[in-house]
Amino acid sequence: MSTFTIPVGPLHVALEEPMYFKVEVEGETVRNVEITAGHVHRGVEYLTTKRTIFQNITLTERICSLCSNSHPEAYCMAIEQIAGIAVSERAESLRVMASEIKRIASHLFNVAILAHLVGFDTLFMQVMETREIVQDLKETLFGNRMDIGANCIGGVRFDLDSKGLSYLAAQLLRLEPQLDEIVRHYRTNTSILRRTRGVGVLDRAAAVDCAVVGPVARASGIAYDVRTKAPYSAYDKLDVPVHTLEDGDVWSRALVRLAEAKTAIDVLRQCAAHLPEGPTGPRERPDVPAGQAIAKCEAPRGELIYYVRTDGSRCPERVKWRVPSFMNWDALRVMLADAKVADISLIVSSIDPCISCTER
């Protein structure tokens, strides 16, 4: 049987952002995939060297929408290492709370898209409605639904009083039973199971080979989570279970995300129950000497690493980051091998692709 090539993208109904896949198919089966990137390359790495160290907090927050909190979080941690700034315990806990709230919203969004691609739009709307609880929470606590502007060098820019904490507790109480019901649907619904089990498999060996991180790695049996392997902020004091599954298929990746959303609720409650007293940030802007540092954090999609080099001037000499999605594209070629054409969009969506993050 002869093969022919079909284009998927750069603009495609199943992709939220532009990416171009040249898919070589034989009948209904994918034989090879070639990925062409660069449609939203903006040169943000260059821009960071033209902004001051403090302006870059705002710039890095705008690299991506769903993990917008993780970028300034890692960037601030790198600068704090260079300048030798200690973050107060209260600020550390508040940072954890900001990133866990973002994690729930990010994971629910991806899991909702899965239901949409399966054609189960009622479930899609149900998950998005549940996610709205978290969006309301962000809007109330931070004043914004996506870019929450939580971090500053040396601490955080927000604080939670008893009113904020009781609103958080009430929202989590609303969220939890709804999330449990969503998990039950994904575990038992035959339409979901038929379309996602055994589809887009990335086995453990291939996952190690591709160096994937985050839920994609954990769904393939790699128990790597920056929060436990290289603790930062308040994570060394918190109980954060790492969820892994062995099958490495689309379904496992969704279930790992749902389990992590559930864990995030628990982590938020742990933080709220033992929120230390103290300042939330420094009183004045610190001086940042010449130096270099690496900071890592667990973004919703996995390990986000920042490398920052400063030369003692107002602007950093070099800021480099690598997002979790960066390795996932190559892993997609493994997942898509011998897949059915109808499953392409489902498999692509299962890596929780972030193109503006990848291309910067």
Binding site: H41, K229, A230, E303, I305, D311, D330
Partner: protein
């Protein structure tokens, strides 16, 4: 307790006969961050293989053109004209002898060893030297190496697929090393014709 073995410095020293500079810090939470500079870029492959044997994962690769340190103005003012008479100061040299004058390169390979980070750094002279590709050892070096090849004049030896990654073939090489005037970037050739048009209209009106 960290995942990075205590004898890692000795292992890297054995793998890199050209010589290394090694330092190690630990964060307040007990996460080790180690830095290893290689005097000879040719030792990169052996050093990376040593880390691969430890089960390391390549996190990412950073390339940059380090700026020379600023001359110390305060000293000049205090000590009189000794420094001023000496002419252009010699740029400092990196381990291995590459001059840090703003045109040479530094490539930092960041590895993750079960949560700890170890960075291998090599230095390349101005004009772009050649480093061996790590893609045969670490599959995910592929995209990182392609990206740094398109933004700097660095050559990677033995890359299996050295095509452009993000930038189109029509974009000139080494974009991050050139100053591109804004008018060139936005192809502002129409500015003059617009001005001429206005002048013409004004001339016609008066």
């Amino acid at each position: 307790m960290t995942a990075l073995p205590d004898d890692i410095e000795a292992r890297l020293r054995a793998a890199a006969p050209g010589g290394i500079g090694y330092s190690r810090d630990e964060t307040a939470k007990g996460v080790a961050v180690a830095w290893c500079e290689l005097a000879d870029p040719a030792d990169l492959e052996a050093a990376a293989r040593c880390l691969k044997d430890l089960g390391a994962r390549l996190s990412t690769i950073t390339a940059l053109q380090p700026k020379p340190p600023e001359p110390d103005d305060d000293d000049d003012a205090a000590d009189g004209d000794d420094a001023a008479d000496a002419g252009e100061p010699e740029p400092p040299r990196a381990l291995g002898g590459v001059a840090i004058d703003g045109t040479s390169y530094e490539i930092a390979y960041h590895f993750d060893v079960d949560g700890d980070t170890l960075t291998l750094t090599v230095f390349l002279p101005a004009g772009g030297g050649t480093v061996p590709s790590l893609t045969p050892l670490f599959r995910n070096a592929d995209w990182s190496e392609r990206e740094l090849m398109e933004i700097y004049a660095i050559r990677i030896d033995g890359h299996p697929d050295p095509r452009r990654l993000f930038l189109d073939e029509s974009v000139d090489a080494a974009v991050l090393e050139r100053l591109i005037p804004f008018s060139t970037l936005v192809n502002a050739a129409s500015t003059k014709s617009l001005w001429e048009k206005i002048l013409e209209q004004k001339g016609g009106a008066s």
